[in-house]
Subunit: 224 residues, 2 copies
DNA sequence: CGCCCCTTTGAAGCATATCAAACCGCGTGG
DNA sequence: CCACGCGGTTTGATATGCTTCAAAGGGGCG
């Protein structure tokens, strides 16, 4: 968990989404494919992605994995009500996070309670809930092409509709997010490319241009 | 929405799960297959199931449906942070609910703020989130037999492990909860019966006895 | 240059969906 | 009381979308 190679610089400022500013945040770097925290571990910190990308996932004992969310720069993750993490969080690529102690942030056992308004925490949890609820419909009732299209639109939005979308995750991560295999994800992307809805930039298949967002939207929701 | 045939008796008491007692609850009856509220409707009330059962679901425009949760007697549902319902809620069978105004309960715009501790609300939302997160893994990564087994165990637990489990929902509801078809649900139940893990009581296929909960647990998680 | 990881693509297999038919209990109306 | 229709369920046959297995190509890095 603690990597001596990591810097640990103190900061006093607030990520967007949290209102109070007088909380101590420490910087921490995680190499790709290392865990930020593990499922069932006590939840001592809250994390703020500065740079990189993180996946939160659950695993079955035979290795099947479901990724519940991707966390990109600006996102906050790891807050838990229960005191224990319900997910494993792993760095997808080399990632820098800022960490704050839960009790500092949410003032449970400290004198300065409500260091961050409970309202903020509520907002964060509600956003997670909403995302999970939408994802239930996708996992339970949408086909592979719709799933991949929806994924692209989600990433597009969260990366603020860049000209070129650079995906930090590989095909397997996408597959485990969408409840598919990596081959099916690849085939769906190929189909979308063939329909000229997207294109790859250069030879790396992680840089994607969305040529036709409206059409992509139609594919994502052949419905709704 | 408002059915004149319904009784509307005022109550002053608190469902378990909410701490304060001085909130006005009104009783309301919903016939089976009628909606309690619709997606995108303003969320004015919070609901407490007294009797019956409710499903909350999302639909795609072509009719595909994903049920996110079943609400049984004692459950609270319909609280929304956003002010608008993100689901449709429908009575599965004839159902009695108690309703309380959101602002009475959570004291947003009233003089008596925090009529119910924000902590309670947080607990409710966290429970929903946890359930949704677990359901993601089920929908994305478990096979039909595992899904049905997990469903039975969930219902068993929530009905407090009765000798005979009486399911309020039909096979299609179960299917739409598990991301399957009703035929696949039926086949899975038949397989479990053949393995003597469960049995039907009488000729109605909604009364189920779990003969071997440990074995059912093994089926549910051929993993985890 | 060569190895490894990632991705794509093809072929075959399989789990679940789809289509179809029969059964059963139940409520209704003759 | 019985005949009938209907919704719900089961079961069988077939179809299909996705997975599994396999192979090849490409890029990056030692």
């Amino acid at each position: 968990m603690i990597d001596p190679a990591n810097s640990n610089t103190p900061h006093r400022s607030a990520p967007s989404g949290l209102s109070k500013t007088d909380v101590l945040w420490s910087e921490f770097k995680h190499q790709r494919d290392t865990s930020v925290f593990e499922e069932a571990e006590p939840a001592e910190y809250v994390y703020h992605v500065r740079d990189g990308a993180v996946r939160t996932c659950k695993r079955l004992s035979d290795g099947r994995r479901q990724i519940s969310a991707f966390h990109l720069p600006g996102d906050i993750f790891g807050f838990e009500n229960s005191g224990f993490h319900r997910f494993t969080a792993e760095a997808i690529i080399d990632t820098t996070v800022w960490m704050a102690r839960r009790q500092d942030l949410f003032g449970e056992h400290t004198g300065l309670n409500d260091a961050v308004a409970p309202k903020d925490m509520m907002k964060l949890i509600t956003r997670s809930l909403q995302h999970a609820e939408d994802h239930l419909l996708l996992l339970g009732r949408q086909n592979s092409l719709e799933k991949v299209a929806a994924f692209l639109l989600e990433m597009d939005l969260r990366l603020q509709k860049p000209d070129v979308m650079v995906l930090p995750m590989n095909r397997r991560d996408i597959a485990d997010y969408l409840g598919l295999t990596l081959e099916t994800v690849s085939r769906s992307l190929s189909m979308l490319r063939q329909q000229e809805i997207l294109d790859f930039v250069g030879q790396t298949q992680r840089k994607i241009v969305l040529c036709d967002r409206p059409k992509l939207g139609l594919v994502a929701r052949s419905a709704d």
